[in-house]
Symmetry: C2
Subunit: 165 residues, 2 copies
DNA sequence: GCCCAATGACTGCCGAAGCAACTATAAGCA
DNA sequence: TGCTTATAGTTGCTTCGGCAGTCATTGGGC
């Protein structure tokens, strides 16, 4: 019963993910970042003006809004981000990447890409990689609506702005 | 820079994993189990005598030994497990699955398998699935046998870390 | 304009899990 | 045998993150 191929399949996905996550985390740590902090930094850096409203940031990450409040607290304390009032809605505030945050990201990204290549994409020849990604994409598309539990019902235009694909 | 195909590839893996994990967690919860508890239960149930020493259990899961102590505490309190003294080594103790624990697992597993099929393996035709699993296996093999966790030499203590489920 | 529901952010409180320190055994060695 | 080191498990302290509750603001209905 435990060697059911379905269990095995999940095991492979989970272990590949865990193994890669550990490599990533180790490299992030070399640059003084946690995985969430890296994620926050990239989401903001790819947004217009290097900023997002707290709620939108929460929607794009694996965090709840309270989680975002706290991560932004820490990163603001460390000088990577700043809060900026929203002119059109006084309830809202933006999280903006500071120059220091952008620099940190610049220092971190090349190594991150290198690691992805070394342990993931570079492990397979192009067709095998394409097949893998194709399979992942189909699973992702099937399972995505509602991924990351946090967000409550509405999913306005949850475009998954993330990793287009 | 952010639409680099390597970033996209990681995004697919992460989102597929997160989405599946969320489905799993929801079904586990219907049976009063957390993802870690399910993992612990399966690891024990597939071991001879439905038991493992605490350390071995920790090695087979995503948890540290102190994490295992606490999960076993909770599950013992809930009647799913019991601790049993090790006859040959009085420092050691076994975690054993109780009848109630086995029953809980029996109730949970069929639905779990159904969900894997529904959202993962059943989303792809056999060759595509085989290709996906083959790719995952290669990545897993590359990244898993933590030969040396850190090239920096720090963290001599391979601890897995990463995120569970 | 006024009231009330909806929304954005933050805080109190809690559980989960890791590291480091501690206790108790066990094993190695003189 | 007695001493030293390693190992198994637990516990203290801390960080992280979620939920639910709170406060300020907004916008719709009248």
């Amino acid at each position: 019963m435990f060697d059911d191929p379905r269990i095995t399949a999940v095991g492979l996905l989970v272990e590949a993910h865990a193994g890669l996550s550990a490599r990533f985390a180790a490299q992030f740590e070399e640059h003084g970042l946690s995985p969430v902090e890296f994620e926050v930094l990239t989401r903001l850096a790819r947004s217009p003006g290097n900023q997002l409203r707290m709620t939108d940031l929460a929607a794009q990450t694996s965090l709840s809004t309270s989680g975002v409040t706290r991560v932004v607290d820490r990163m603001e304390r460390d000088g990577l981000l700043a809060r900026r009032a929203c002119p059109s809605d006084r309830r809202s505030s933006f999280a903006v990447v500071t120059a220091s945050g952008l620099q940190r990201l610049d220092e971190t990204l090349p190594g991150h890409l290198r690691i992805i290549e070394q342990w993931f994409t570079g492990q397979l020849d192009p067709e095998a990689l394409a097949a893998l990604l194709d399979g992942l994409r189909r699973v992702r598309d099937a399972v995505h609506p509602g991924a990351t539990a946090g967000s409550t019902g509405s999913t306005p235009d949850w475009d998954g702005a993330a990793d287009a694909s």
